[in-house]
Amino acid sequence: MADEKKLFKVTIDNITVDVEPGTTILQAARKIGGDVTPPAMCYYSKLKDSGGKCRTCLVEVAQGSTADPRPMPKLVASCRTNVMDGMVVKNITSERVIDARNGVVEFLLINHPLDCPICDQAGECHLQDLSYENGKSASRYEFKKRTFDKHDLGPYIQLHMTRCILCYRCVYVADQVSGERRHGILNRGDHAEIATYIEKSLDNDFIGNVIDVCPVGALTDKTFRFKNRVWFTKPVDAHCNCDKCSGEVQLWMRGDEVLRVTARKDEWGEVKDTTKGEPGWICNTCRFERKKVSDWVIEGPSQVNRHSVISQGHYTGLVKPKETIQKVTGRDPKLLLNIKDVTEVNQVELSELKGPATSQVFKQLKKEN
């Protein structure tokens, strides 16, 4: 048929794939999957105009197309370069690419605080993954790291500007998803920062999605702050009837507590489409307010990539052992040794805390009890 779209053949690291015209190199590589997919820190397929900034997805184009087989002189950002028919791309098979990518990772890390042990993003941080793949164990940077004045973005969203890699994703989310942007990039160069200029809290029904798109720990959930490491929590798919969004979310549970609610994410860390086929952005009410199991209809454990640290506490087909102790003693085993009887910390159900779980909160609770 004449109006049938011709597919473009593109070869990435010697693997050939057919894609539709207008596909970017990165999307074609994602179609292949695995190691040939360049990492992407700033590109987000669901956000228009995103990408091209972080330079981690640079690839070498060894052959422009069948019609014009000249190679491209510079490395190109695969997230914003469209494929041509017969294009030959080198990603991990090119030394130039690996060298440039290692350089970019070094640049991204020189001013990064490397405070992973106290960062809530640790375990699901793209910069951690990237540094693991392309980073060095030591830094050549011998100067003081860059710091910023603290900036309060309101009761729900915590900003850590020192961790930011200026991917602009949160700016695009505010523009394209929430429809109202109150924050942006101030200043330029290495003193550029995400801020609201006049201190203003971000309150918009969909602004919580900036947390999901942030590839690093710069924007995190205040209601989850310091409550748990993500790899100790269990991700569970759930839904509710929400009048603002699809209500299709992922609950991050520990025991029977819902510690955090996020949108469902695909294998590239991007928000999944809902069952209706729309991008699965979720509203602030679902994300920050519904922290009881009874608020949700639980569908089952989420699929977690087995290479992810989060999968360490994740078992499918789990059978709960029979409570033999109760049968024998006639008492609840919890009463034998309740952790809360022997320690002064964790006297509180974490999910009931509205804000961050900080030492002040515990001190306050201790006084009240």
Partner: protein, 452 residues
Amino acid sequence: MGRKLLLEKAHVEGIRHYDVYRREGGYRSVEKALKTMSPDQVTEEVKKSGLRGRGGAGFPAGMKWSFLAKPEGVPRYLVVNADESEPGTFKDRYLMEFIPHLLIEGMICASYALGSNRSYIYIRGEYWWVKEILEQAIQEARNAGMLGKNILGSGFDCDIFVHPGAGAYICGEETALLESLEGKRGNPRLKPPFPAVKGLWGCPTVVNNVETISAVVPIVNDGGDEYAKLGTGKSTGTKLISACGNINKPGVYEIEMNISVEEFIYSDEYCGGIANGKRLKACIPGGSSVPILPANLLLKTAKGDARMMTYESLSDGGFATGTMMGSGGFIVMDEDQCVVKHTYTLARFYRHESCGQCSPCREGTGWMEKILLNIENGKGKMSDIDLLWDIQRKIEGNTICPLGDAAAWPVAAAIRHFRDEFEWHVTNPSDALSRNYGLANYAKPLEVVTTA
């Protein structure tokens, strides 16, 4: 004495005003173009002239114009880049300040050739008084019927607007300039699409330097072939050079591109030699971002020929032994200048002016500045020099816009040609704080490698 095309009338009294400019033969090209030529003929003349972009990259202007997409029913724009922020370059200011009508005349011809009914001058914010001069000149031209509806009865409408920037070097990059003109943050866009296809407000746009557009006037007046007779090879016509640094006569000179660098520096007609009887140590011939050259390589190419003030000759030998014409900001340094300090100053500039979009440029420029400051202050290590080299290598070519390259090249060239001065700073930290390295052997003639 070389022929002058742009600055010939610059010092006629009152040339800033329409009446005098017109009496001196101004706006002849507008009459000629609009009354006797088709837009394509004007483009053809510019192509024939071999005029190369004067903003720095040296891309043929006629070629750029012919790339302009011309879809039906979509407006096209001409934007003049007057965001002249390159350290060492001040030729556009001179041109706009003294003879503003030349730019406007060139813009009308270019707008006619490109079919732009609304043309913009994006001027850097620091040139606020030049903006006033331009706006006054535009108003005079409008009153005289050279701008507005139906110019000279030809049916062509055109108006010109001046838009000031807010003090960002990056807005001189054409796509960042367009973003800024649209009222957004001046971040460079990814290319492709190029402005010729999707520029200002998504419409086809040509962005040209002030001097390029001004050069359209003599091209239309005398014809492209006549213009191409000036200069040498592919460097046709005349070029404005803003000479500064340790020379006797700093200023803006219009040169025909057929003189040697040596003649330009030492002849009384131009720079008049090095000030205070000192000796030449180094020179940056094209504005701060092009590679610096030591005296011996500046005056003679690696092959031993005299280096000429042309695009080709200045870039002879690539970056290993050559440099670039750039925007014509000719910075001369005498024997008492410290290359390390100078490189640090430039690195500080680029760190301050990086837009912060791409990680290599945002983080790398700050890192280079800190290392250079350490070396300059006698706190450097030998390994820092190699580290600097590695950093610049990882910035260059890996960014969206050329600012990354512009930040990397001066550092690379300084290390390439002046490595012993860097090493002297490391090995003699106390000397480095109290005195200069001096001329050393930077002016000694190089051995010419002859291949049999």
